[in-house]
């Protein structure tokens, strides 16, 4: 399920590693697929599983506390590296609906929002609190751009206005671009 008018209410999973790159989110050897479905099994694969495929019990997603959590709180500067949209596809397929960090890499943030995965940047203060309180109940309201966590955090977040509008109103950005085809034709004619 992707973001929309519904308020996301969940406990958090905290993965306090800084600069988590997209090769950790989904290793490149899983990119030979021509589909986008079913990538949740590859999410954080080499952190989640031993080389022989057994789950690593010390990894947070393999612990009972992570069950049913829709919101991932990551260490500073999340999702640097490659442009693979397989990263948000894997997070969504696994069940996450939002990720929170201090900074989120440009291409990932764009990819995430296009797929309805909220990628939120918060202040150091809010981030420190979330990192220190794994499992905290949070609510994320895209309509009012409001993030609440436990009794301690009640803040607003910024999100690219058009991406927000599209998610709230079910508008398809490709449809919007196609509606501008007359402008595109005019532009092309003007350059020729």
């Amino acid at each position: 399920m992707s973001a929309g008018r519904e308020i996301i209410r969940s406990r958090t999973v905290v993965l306090p590693v800084e600069n988590i790159d997209t090769d950790q989110i989904i290793p490149a050897r899983f990119l030979t697929t021509t589909e986008r479905a079913g990538l949740g099994r590859c999410l954080f694969h080499d952190w989640r599983f031993h080389a022989d495929g057994r789950p690593r019990s010390d990894f947070i997603l393999n612990q009972p506390a992570a069950d049913g959590c829709d919101v991932l709180v990551a260490g500073r500067n999340f999702a640097c590296g490659s442009s693979r949209e397989h990263a948000p596809w894997a997070l969504l397929d696994y069940g996450f609906r939002a990720v929170i960090s201090t900074e989120i890499a440009d291409i990932f943030r764009s990819n995430a929002l296009r797929n309805g995965l909220l990628a939120l940047e918060v202040t150091d203060e809010v981030h420190d609190w979330l990192i220190a309180h794994p499992g905290a109940p949070v609510s994320i309201d895209l309509e009012s751009c409001r993030l609440r966590a436990g009794d301690a955090v009640d803040t607003t977040f910024e999100i690219e206005s058009f991406a927000r509008y599209c998610l709230l109103n079910g508008v398809d950005p490709l449809g919007y671009l196609l509606s501008r085809l007359p402008d595109i034709e005019c532009y092309e004619a003007g350059r020729a």
Binding site: A28, T32, T33, E103, D106, Y187, E188
Partner: protein, 478 residues
């Protein structure tokens, strides 16, 4: 935007941006930005083509689209019989799917059998497709490479690949401009790769987020096009959206006569226009940093992101922090340890960062008449089939083979390790590629990023080594 701003001095970014605005940006909507060149490869395109097929949409401008296969295809000579590679299941399907899609949508494809095939960021420039002033996109973060030509070039996700296929446009907000001013000149044995790593070390892996870097200054003007491509290629590793260098005579000389470059009168017109593509004196950047190239030494990474870097003669920083401890635990290296002399199992010379002809010539200058250390595996993968042919015409492949290195077909290979080429768990690899992330070269593999000179010197030593003493000896003998 104020009137004064509208007529004031402009950055290169601003000039290129303004030329490509189809519908201006507002508070509510991003700009509709026109794309001049869309490069396509097998890994990030299939799901985008599926959307077009499902919605019954054509590719709007196949003539502005160019496809190749690079990520999934094998490079090992043992896996090629003539033009036919041995590929397993999904990789084969992926390559065939690109072929089907290009045939169906009438997109030019430099496919498996093509002598012009290669890594997408090597062939765009090689064919003269990447030109100054263009907007260039590809479903690959190292699209920043093409900024070397004074283009605005950046990576996009698969959904946006679909947008460009269907409309030749993207929805974008204008990024901020970051000037990296590089004074002085690079010393002998210090390369564009070392400069790129030093810049990332300064900015950090998130330091460029939201920005387009323009590399400026005397040291940049002195770089060849191959070197500018290496530098711009790594911009994404500082988190930057793109990197660019204003075009000049070096750029025009490179492009003159390439298959897709303008010809005759169109060439003259193009060069006149391209000469206007520079940041005006007094243009305001959102941020600037200064680097003196003369102070740089060859660089080597010691950690698990490209910002964790030291001079080859230096030591891994002593002060810890959780991120450094995690990185050193993965790398099985110690804080305070000298990076030089660290034993290595493998050397990889290749990738869109460092697999052009000049990179191979540099590697050969070190390897000529020498042997790769016993037990070390050295893999050399040219950036394109043309680079491979040129290298062979110069006899570079014989230098590599006589030194005991492997000489492969072109492709991404060990940079991303999704084609079967990979290092074993725990192995140390000195690599000329762009990412030292955990597992990037195979699960458990440990990557140390460096220049082709440093990689070649390390192959001979069997350990991380400064190439400069070998270069001096070569010069003395000459």
């Amino acid at each position: 935007m104020s009137e004064a701003r509208d007529i004031g001095p402009r950055t290169l970014l601003e000039k290129i941006w303004r030329r490509h605005v189809v519908v201006p940006e507002t508070a509510d909507t991003p700009a509709v930005l026109y794309v001049d060149l869309h490069l396509v490869h097998e890994v990030t395109s299939p799901q985008a083509f599926s959307v077009l097929r499902r919605r019954g949409l054509p590719v709007r401008r196949p003539d502005r689209t160019l496809a190749t296969v690079d990520h999934s295809i094998p490079t090992s000579p043992a896996r090629w019989q003539g033009d036919r590679p041995t590929m397993d299941g999904e990789a084969r399907v992926q390559v065939d799917t690109l072929g089907d899609n290009c045939a169906h949508f009438d997109i030019p494809l430099l496919g498996i059998g093509s002598r012009r095939r290669g890594i997408v960021h090597v062939i765009g420039p090689e064919q003269g497709a990447s030109q100054p002033g263009m907007t260039i996109v590809c479903g690959d973060s190292h699209t920043t490479t093409h900024g070397a030509f004074g283009a605005l070039a950046f990576g996009i996700g698969t959904t946006e690949v679909g947008h460009v296929l269907a409309t030749q446009c993207l929805l974008q907000r204008r990024p901020r401009a970051l000037a990296v001013n590089v004074s002085g000149s690079l010393a002998a044995g210090v390369t564009a790769k070392d400069l790129a790593l030093a810049v990332i070390g300064r900015l950090g892996v998130g330091g460029g987020t939201g920005h387009v870097i323009e590399y400026r200054g005397a040291a940049i003007r002195a770089l060849s096009m191959d070197e500018r491509m290496t530098l711009c290629n790594m911009s994404i590793e500082a988190g930057a959206r793109a990197g660019m260098v204003a075009p000049d005579d070096t750029t025009f000389e490179y492009l003159d006569g390439r298959p897709m470059s303008p010809k005759a009168a169109a060439w003259e017109r193009a060069v006149r226009d391209w000469r206007t593509l520079c940041s005006d004196p007094g243009a305001r950047f959102d941020r600037e940093i200064e680097i003196d190239a003369s102070t740089l030494e060859p660089q080597v990474t010691w950690g698990t992101d490209p910002g964790m870097v030291v001079a080859v003669g230096g030591r891994i920083p002593a002060d810890g922090g959780a991120r450094q401890r995690e990185a050193l635990s993965y790398m099985d290296l110690d804080a305070g340890q000298a990076i030089g002399g660290q034993p290595v199992d493998m050397v990889f010379i290749g990738s869109c960062t460092n697999a052009r002809l000049s990179d191979l010539r540099q590697a050969a200058s070190v390897l000529r008449g020498r042997k790769v250390a016993p037990g070390l595996r050295a893999v050399i993968v040219p950036g394109s089939q043309q680079v491979k042919a040129q290298a062979e015409a110069e006899g570079l492949h014989r230098v590599f083979l006589e030194a005991g290195a492997e000489w492969h077909e072109s492709g991404c290979s060990l940079c991303i390790a999704m084609n079967g080429d990979r290092a074993a768990p725990g192995q140390y690899v000195v690599s000329t590629s762009n990412r030292n992330f955990e597992g990037r070269q195979g699960p458990g593999a440990r990557t140390l990023l460096a220049s082709p000179l440093t990689a070649a010197a390390s192959a001979i030593a069997g350990a991380v080594a400064d190439p400069r003493p070998l270069l001096e000896r070569a010069r003395r003998i000459a």
